[in-house]
Symmetry: C2
Subunit: 146 residues, 2 copies
DNA sequence: AAGCATTGTAACACTTGCAATGACGACTCG
DNA sequence: CGAGTCGTCATTGCAAGTGTTACAATGCTT
């Protein structure tokens, strides 16, 4: 099981916006071209990012604007905006363990704090990376190409 | 997107084996009863655990034996045995970014080390918990019930 | 040797979620 | 008004997880 590609696509979108916003009009069609996917998928992701308050999208004229300084937006913010994880739990239990079994009726409580710690470790690492890191990294790589 | 319930089911299986192995014959039917699922699902998971060398399963007579001391088996070992993640990568990229776009042809290399760091943070945390923690935790909880 | 319980595995149906696509209304600007 | 763009819906295809049935293979037990 893998994290949806929508997460990496969202990071791709932010990178494109930052790199190209002065040079081109960054529309969902433009982004779909760079990512090589469908404009509708882009728009769905933009809708999620907008709902999370990370961006605003101009209707009609087109154009995407980031609402906060990109140094203040972390991978975790993007992840939370994109992944519609039920209750925010990364791990999934089997629904109805047998309450007559001593293990069955305790397994959930027993595992819960450990799984939460594992999930938190991942999320805390996500908070270390910002969109600014992404932009500067992209500029470096593009400069080194020539 | 969530981690499959097979992972937590596998941990449930190990806990049951440790708690009940002296008292009952722990078969796939017995486990299916505790977890409240299908014996075939249990057998599929047992097959994965066996392929990873964590357990042996006696055919015919039935019965599950752990091959190593449970203090030496971590959640990570179980996770690796269960999750058939492609290339071991937790995160998933969109397949074919546009090579004509400066961002498109660099995004993969740009994100790779960051995503790997995030994944490693999770996996390292998984290595902190062993099946022994699970067993002692379960015994405590069961004792406190009375 | 025969019977029984159990595992190993294949096959199938069902559900869910992601992704691709087309269509059309809503909105903004020139 | 008209062109361009976003917002959203419906449909389709596909993959994965899960539940279930069925049956062969295995190894005790008698």
């Amino acid at each position: 099981m893998q994290i949806t590609s929508r997460f990496t696509v969202a990071l791709h979108i932010f990178t494109c916006v930052e790199i190209f916003k002065d040079e081109y009009k960054v529309t969902s069609d433009f982004l779909a071209g760079s990512i090589n996917t469908n404009p509708v998928l882009i728009r769905k992701i933009l809708t999620q990012l907008k709902a999370a308050g990370l961006i605003t999208v101009a209707r009609g004229t087109g154009g995407i604007a980031v609402t906060r300084p990109i140094s203040e937006i972390t991978f975790y913010d993007v992840y939370q905006a994109i992944e519609p994880v039920e209750n925010g739990d990364l791990f999934h239990f089997h629904e109805n363990p047998n309450p007559k079994c001593p293990v069955g009726r305790n397994i959930h409580a027993l595992l819960d704090n450990k799984l939460k710690a594992i999930q938190s470790a991942m999320e805390d690492e996500m908070k270390k990376y910002t969109l600014e890191d992404l932009k500067t990294g992209a500029l470096e790589r593009i400069a080194n190409e020539q």
